[in-house]
Symmetry: C2
């Protein structure tokens, strides 16, 4: 298989079947699958089907994802709710929270829902977009296992702590989704695999020096004795390191602190326990002005950005969400890409569950490349 691309529908049926087998309801399996596959459709391979076995292992072998108690609303006001996920699978807790935030925003104008004791919830952007699809402004954040070094520090005490923001616009919605570290861990892993050095402002080793050696850094991160990835802005205040660190802190406050959960430095302290926290905000911008007019003004501004003059050598000015929407169209047409390792893992998973891989992994014939 030269291109490893498989039909979206087949992958969807496979993922839903897999999670049904692990005891999730039809609706839950559909929700988990949609979060996973949306990452693949958006071209965020790292958070897509590549993680399927991470979740299934998390459920069975590691026991990080518990199934004995469902997520539960433990506090509620007309504008807010706190959900205790009871270590259930993160996507289901996050979907419940997002729906609740939407419902509250439609009634009162705003909904803020915090979730504690959860598990990895997939791409932050999924939930921001889900809110935006209801013609509301959506924000989603999560803290994660500690990997970010605070400015001037050498110990990882914050997570990658992504922030996602979504709002409807034409022809592409605004959808911003970014880790507050300069790069995600996956980027460092890619450099390690290729045997390349990483740029000096990406990571720090356990001795408190910035390092260009990806294997050294990954090794130090694994041992948790110092070292990690630097904040957006790198190591130096001169380039705004304290700002990236501040955005990481904003996420810690909105998630672990507000929810009464744990901060990133306490996440996954035991291998069988994650306990991350999430934050969801939905705002009805119709409170401030005509909803359609507001969307039109955003669309016009995004358009102005896309049509603006480019830097020398740059292809074009993108707006956030544009690349994801274009990737989505392409990946629906050309099929979901699975790298060799993921394909192998998923095939093994099928065998383990007695599912015929060829029923689900349906290759999509590729057109000859253009030009």
């Amino acid at each position: 298989m030269a291109d490893n691309r498989f039909s979206y529908e087949g992958m969807k049926a496979l993922s839903e079947t897999v999670f049904r087998r692990y005891g999730y309801s039809e609706e839950e399996a559909r929700e988990i699958t949609d979060v996973l596959l949306t990452a693949d459709l958006f071209g965020i391979e790292s958070h897509g089907c590549q993680r399927m076995t991470l979740y299934t292992n998390g459920i069975t072998k590691i026991g990080r994802i518990k199934r004995d108690r469902k997520p539960e609303v433990v506090r509620e006001t007309p504008v807010s709710a706190l959900i205790d996920a009871h270590e259930y699978i993160g996507q289901v807790a996050a979907m419940m929270a997002t729906r609740l935030a939407i419902e509250k925003a439609k009634k009162t104008g705003v909904g803020i829902v915090c979730v504690k004791n959860s598990n990895h919830y997939g791409i932050a952007g999924y939930y921001a977009r889900m809110i935006a699809q209801e013609h509301l402004l959506g924000v989603s954040m999560t803290n994660t296992e500690a990997i970010m070094i605070p400015t001037n520090g050498r110990q990882a005490l914050l997570g990658t702590n992504p922030i996602a923001v979504g709002m409807p616009a034409e022809p592409y919605p605004f959808l911003f989704d970014a880790a507050t570290t300069v790069v995600p861990r996956g980027k460092v892993e890619v450099y390690a695999k290729k045997g390349l050095e990483i740029p000096a402002d990406w990571a720090m080793d356990s001795e408190g020096k910035t390092s260009t050696l990806p294997r050294r850094v990954l090794d130090d991160i694994g041992k948790k004795q110092g070292g990690g990835i630097l904040p957006l802005g790198g190591a130096r205040e001169q380039f705004g390191s304290h700002k990236g660190y501040g955005f990481g802190m904003l996420v810690e406050i909105m998630t672990g602190i507000l929810a009464g959960g744990v901060t990133s430095d306490e996440i996954r302290k035991r291998f069988d326990c994650d306990r991350c926290s999430h934050f969801f905000l939905a705002v009805d911008y119709g409170m401030f002005g005509d909803r359609e007019e507001t969307e039109r003004r955003l669309s016009a501004y995004l358009n102005k950005l896309r049509e603006s003059q480019t830097a020398q050598g740059a292809p074009c000015v993108y707006t956030h969400g544009q690349k994801e929407m274009l990737a989505c169209e392409e990946n629906l047409r050309r099929g979901i890409y699975l790298n060799d390792k993921t394909l192998e893992e998923i095939t093994a998973l099928c065998r383990e569950l007695g599912l015929p891989p060829e029923t689900y992994l349906i290759p999509v014939p590729q057109e000859a490349p253009e030009g």
Copy 2:
């Protein structure tokens, strides 16, 4: 005068008198003064008394700050309000908005107030801290005259667009206040004055190339024909340029787009008209858990960060707000620092208004430096 440091009380009396003379009420003059002087106390000289004549010129000579109509609430719900500032002085509109956000958060749990058609409101952190002092989580943002180049672009279409977040903690509150550009314009000006080159990832010239020449960049910015300051993360996606650009966009959406005002590219298009927009959010974290316990957990986490191991050669790990609180103590004791140019401008302003400078500019005798 070797050290140019003047009594806080004298400076306060001076500023209040000046703004009273320009027709503001006692309360308004007190508000404007507190925002200005808090910047000086926090050590943010660029936004303090150095700007006093910018405001007074804005009122009289330039006419950017109008006085014919006061800020007015034009839309309101139990959780939100929209204020039209009618181009009144920004600090007064922002104080009104902040008070309203606090009041709503105390009643309903959350308050979101947007302001349109405003003027420069001083430091964003002032309002976030004002909310935090009420034991609420505070967020404040503003768009500003366009100066940020979007990733891959060469035209400045976003402002410096600061974001500030505040929450109470002991012994220092959490107070994050950062422009979403890699540096503020003032930093480039300092390099120009000193005849130094700027780092390559700070700014771009009108030809769409990153530039190390601060005078060239400032000149291009002034002409508005391309060129400006880069987003946090610099010019390249490799270092997260698209993330800084995304945070800048978050501010545009929360301010100009939500408020029905203008985006940064339309701010100050005429020299006598600013029209920036602000955003204020107050959240009662008591909705999610015990308020004091939440603050204790934040304090403990901040403490853990400050006590963590440092990078080689780094003095210590700071938490956001710590430097400002330490500077505040020092500047109250040692007096407000005015550079020669600011001292000259303020003395001239006193003469213009018939105020005896020596009554207000009271030198503070400095202790011999320690050690």
